[in-house]
């Protein structure tokens, strides 16, 4: 609901702030000594263009805000499951940051079943389903590791659990 109603305003404010910061940061960049335009030229141009466009978007969306709210209230969008999205995002973040220190095999073995369980709907959370998830998890992880290790000669992060075959 919020995204549909006020999304455009949020975007325009975000882009206005971003472009303002970029224009300022570009002035701090060194000027080129050999030619007219240096590394600061393109960021400045793009920054100014973005600032103009986002201001225009802000004005237009503020002007149309009333009709927009009425429109969205008339046909409300489908509800979103933000809790599940956030849990998934946290899981993914933990996964990518643990990948190097813990190694591919350990992190993937832990990550996959938890993520699958989170994404599954209530009917797919029986004991039998969980066993299936775990079996897929183990086979997939081992298969990918060895496929890359021996098939493509790429060693995925080994971490605490080293395999030397």
């Amino acid at each position: 609901m919020f995204f549909k109603k006020y999304g455009d305003i949020v975007i325009s404010v975000f882009f206005m702030a971003l472009s303002a910061v970029m224009i300022y940061a570009a002035t701090l960049l060194p000027k080129s000594k050999v030619m007219e335009i240096g590394p600061d030229f393109m960021p400045t141009v793009v920054g100014i263009a973005t600032l103009i466009l986002s201001t225009a978007l802000l004005i237009i969306s503020l002007k149309n805000l009333k009709t927009r709210i009425a429109e969205v209230d008339a046909n409300p969008p489908a509800d979103s499951d933000y809790k599940r999205m956030l849990i998934s995002l946290i899981l993914i973040l933990v996964y990518v940051f643990a990948l190097k220190p813990m190694g591919f095999i350990v992190t993937t073995l832990v990550y996959l079943p938890i993520q699958m369980y989170v994404l599954a709907d209530a009917e797919h959370r029986t004991r039998k389903d969980i066993i299936v998830l775990l079996v897929i998890d183990v086979i997939f992880t081992i298969a990918v590791f060895f496929l890359f290790r021996y098939g493509f000669k790429i060693v995925l992060p080994q971490g605490i659990f080293t395999i030397n075959l």
């Binding site: 995204f3 549909k4 999304g7 455009d8 949020v10 975007i11 882009f15 971003l18 472009s19 970029m22 960049l29 060194p30 050999v34 030619m35 240096g38 590394p39 393109m42 960021p43 793009v46 263009a49 973005t50 466009l53 986002s54 978007l57 237009i60 509800d79 979103s80 499951d81 933000y82 999205m85 995002l89 993914i92 996964y95 990518v96 940051f97 990948l99 190097k100 591919f104 993937t108 990550y111 996959l112 993520q115 699958m116 989170v118 994404l119 599954a120 709907d121 797919h124 998830l133 897929i136 997939f140 992880t141 990918v144 890359f148 098939g151 493509f152 000669k153 790429i154 995925l156 992060p157």
Partner: protein, 503 residues
Amino acid sequence: MEAFSSLMGAFVSICTPSSLLLMAAGVAVGIIFGSIPGLSASMAVALFLPLTFSMSASLGMNTLVAVYIGGISGGLISAILLNMPGTASSIATTFDGYPMAKKGEGMRALGFGIVFSFLGSVFSFIVLTFFAPMLADVALKFTPAENFGICLFALTMVAVLASGNMLKGVLAGMLGLICTFVGMAPIDGTTRFIFGISDLKGGFAQLPTLIGIFAVSEILIFAEKKNEGKIQKIEIKPVKGFGFSLKEFVQQLPNALRSALIGTGIGILPGIGGSTSGMLSYVTAKNMSKHPEEFGKGCPDGIVATETANNATIGGAMIPLLVLGIPGDGVTAMMLGGFLIHGLSAGPLLFVKNADVVYGIFAACMICSAFMLIIEFFGIRGFVQVLRIPQHILMPLILVLCCVGAYATNNRIFDVQSIVLFGVIGYLYHKFGLPTTPFVLCFLIGSMLETYLRRGLMQYKTFGAFFTRPIFVVFFAIACGVVAWSVWKEVKASKAKKSAAVK
């Protein structure tokens, strides 16, 4: 004739058992990705990239081509049987495909879709094979000025792409441009906007960025969705052959030819891609038809128009990719990544230095289309089974493969972390209704644009001197024209909307 003999040579050289097997596997995987809604052809190519590392450049590129072709075509299966387009290219296939399937003519609809997908791709590959080398000859003489003009033109296509809500579309692209500024500036190597993170010195790597935007964001979008209705059971009645007669086939040919031309033409223009060409061709077929009232109720003409056009787009999109190194859409952007990891740079020089790879790709295109025809025809039941794999199992596996793919490119864990960043950006884009294609297009073309501009200025001293190059002037004029036209159209549309609201 030189092109012809090189092509024949390439056919011979790629017809080894291992390369044929890899291409067949690539097509099959592509079809699976294409047919599952939520998985796209770009995602399939992204996941296949690391697998091509240990292959030779030619073999690797051919495998990627196979995945690409399968991925675009596979969308028709779920479009017809489930009323869900597997890829954006097949949206218009659902209009007539699903009504046909409901009437019990599912297999016939699939038959039309498969055969004309094949014909569409073959048509565009013939165009590609004979035009690309000629264009490359011209492109070889380009100076930075011409290349700057073409990049500028390609960027203005973002405005066309974003029509309907142009401000948002263009802003979506601006973030892509801004992302290209991170890292070392072209020419002088001044580091910009790296916030003290030394991993950012090289800028955001292309591959992780694209994987994040296309694949990781899909997982977050999926996680957010409340569970919808389950996939219904699909009935397929067996039919003889492809389910249509020779006479019906001949009747469709004019429609197919027109659609193939639309598809190839749209493909050549950067940034528009298969989804638009499919829709455009569907609408054209409907307008030109003698019985437009049958469209949308299960008329094979609609399937033929869409599927011919979206597959013909592949060959068209390969032209700017190979000749100029400018990707037209998400999938070709990933293909560009494929060139990078094999140490090739797409562009006119590729035709001189690596002619074997280029003609190998042409030959692979033809062979893969044939594979697509065979695999889809015989494997249709198998693909229907694959559609039943629950997405909560599939999505995490894909995430792991994305991470592995991003890591394998440079053996940097930083790349894996950056796919999450771009995944979140892709997700936020989705939430705020910003299109991702402008972002990708600007991200890929932005750094080229800046490099060519500055290199051109080194060569010509002033920007005014760019205008002594006629090809630059043409592209500059077209670019200005495109912008003016899109703005005019946008203003007109919003005025019409307002007056409609007043009434």
